[in-house]
Amino acid sequence: MTPDPNSYPRLAPGCRLGENNQQRVLLMPERALRLNGPSLEIVSRCDGKHTVKEIIGELQKIYSQALPERVEQDILGYLGLLHDQRALDFT
């Protein structure tokens, strides 16, 4: 699914950030995803206080050398993927 730009993503119950050997990970039932660069920037903003639109805006600033539309597409795709894995709720 494509998330609504005005919704607030937040980590679902039992999903949290962790760290091991300097590698940040997203921990969830029976699974752990490595987080690097952009994925870490996105997930650390999924706190129920940022809208999807705000997350896109902030990452477009951080990755100003990348095409803004590309950044938006990548973020929407990644949030959709995390939602399918039941790592995110949108309110």
Binding site: G14, N21, L27, P29, E30, A32, D84, Q85, R86
Partner: protein, 368 residues
């Protein structure tokens, strides 16, 4: 080969073999450990710290029934303090709301609650006790907690036709994940196999249903299913490969590469009371034995799939072919596949015609 050994990612902590249920497919060994041999709170806590500093991310508390340990809240707290993600694999009994609150406060991340069927009579028959009503109470309490919930259904001939009802139960709960795991035939399940193995038609129908459910529930509940490998074309990548990802600690502290490894003759297991996890993982004979590819026979040795399924399951190779280093006989390329086909040929007519009569189950007893 000199590929460096990477650390395990998950620690399966079999806290006890004691359990109020007597499931006919229990994955515990036939020889159960007594309470007197169980590791202390202190040793488990040390094991969690060692695991985390070695790179393990997750601890799966299982048993027996972990709730049978009076120090379970303390163990959850210790594993969280060590930096691990803590899952509790449980039947939900014995548990009351106050203890559930204490577990969540101690940092429990995820609870996997087992259901033996979607109807009370069959559920109670399979686990040999009246557990179903308690499980429904636990489901209800869980709605008030921010903890991940998986519903787990172990699937076999007797309950495979209740999958729609099982899905409905999951949808009425706060679960974000539901697991339909066909029985794997070791230990107690191996002993009860003739009553558990589903007919091919039943399996096909269930897979269709679950594929639809997976689509329909996307974004709400993650639906996962494991089919019976006796019907598969290729074997499962058992434990993600021997000594590659997972380490299991028995109630008395033996470190095993998988649940059933003790059935393989001649394997010697190290104990966490005497060795560090790192030493055991990297150097012990049992973990080295089937790691990598050097132990493989043909057709595995030259097979393109050897890095996907690692030759399948060593315990199953021993149980069905009498040789733990053989290609898993469920593989369609295995020289011993005919043995699996013979079992299916014998069971299918039986499974297709059998109706509701209660089989002569061998129930798992409770250890001292």
């Amino acid at each position: 080969m000199t590929t460096p050994i990477s650390n395990p990612l998950a620690l399966i902590a079999e806290l006890t073999h004691r359990c109020p249920l007597h499931c006919v497919y229990c994955s515990n060994p036939l020889e159960l450990q007594a309470r007197a041999n169980e590791l202390s709170t202190e040793i488990w806590s040390r094991v969690f710290r060692e695991a985390s500093s070695y790179g393990v991310l997750q601890a799966d508390f299982t048993g027996g029934e972990p709730l049978a340990r009076p120090d379970l809240v303390e163990l959850v707290r210790a594993a969280r303090a060590a930096g691990l993600y803590v899952s509790l694999i449980t039947s939900g009994m014995p548990l009351d709301e106050a203890r559930l609150n204490a577990l969540v406060e101690a940092g429990l991340d995820h609870m996997q609650l087992s259901f033996q069927a979607a109807r009370e009579d069959l559920a109670n028959e399979i686990c040999g006790t009246k557990a179903y009503a308690q499980k429904l109470r636990v489901l209800d309490w869980l709605k008030r907690h921010r903890v991940a919930l998986t519903l787990n259904f172990v699937i076999h001939r007797r309950n495979i036709d209740q999958i729609e009802e099982m899905l409905a139960l999951a949808e009425s709960s706060s679960a974000t994940r539901v697991e339909f795991a066909n029985v794997q035939y070791y230990g107690w399940a191996f002993a009860n196999r003739e009553h558990l193995l589903p007919a091919r038609e039943q399996l096909t129908r269930s897979v269709d249903l679950l594929k639809h459910a997976e689509e329909r529930l996307r974004g709400k509940i993650r639906v996962e299913f494991v089919v019976s490998d006796y019907y598969a074309k290729f074997p499962k990548a058992c434990m993600g490969g021997w000594g590659r990802k997972l380490m299991l600690i028995t109630p008395s502290g033996d470190a095993l590469p998988c649940h059933a490894a003790q059935i393989i003759p001649g394997l010697k297991f190290e104990n966490v009371k005497e060795r560090s996890l790192r030493e055991i993982w990297e150097r012990s004979e049992a973990f080295q034995k089937f790691r990598g590819e050097n132990w493989m026979q043909e057709p595995c040795r030259s097979c393109d799939r050897r890095e996907q399924d690692f030759g399948g399951c060593r315990c199953q190779a021993f149980l069905l072919a009498g040789d733990a280093a053989a290609t898993d006989p469920v593989c369609s390329l295995a020289p011993q596949r005919s043995k699996v086909d013979a079992i299916l040929a014998e069971i299918n007519p039986l499974a297709a015609t059998e109706n509701s009569g209660k089989p002569d189950w061998l129930y798992r007893p409770n250890p001292a």
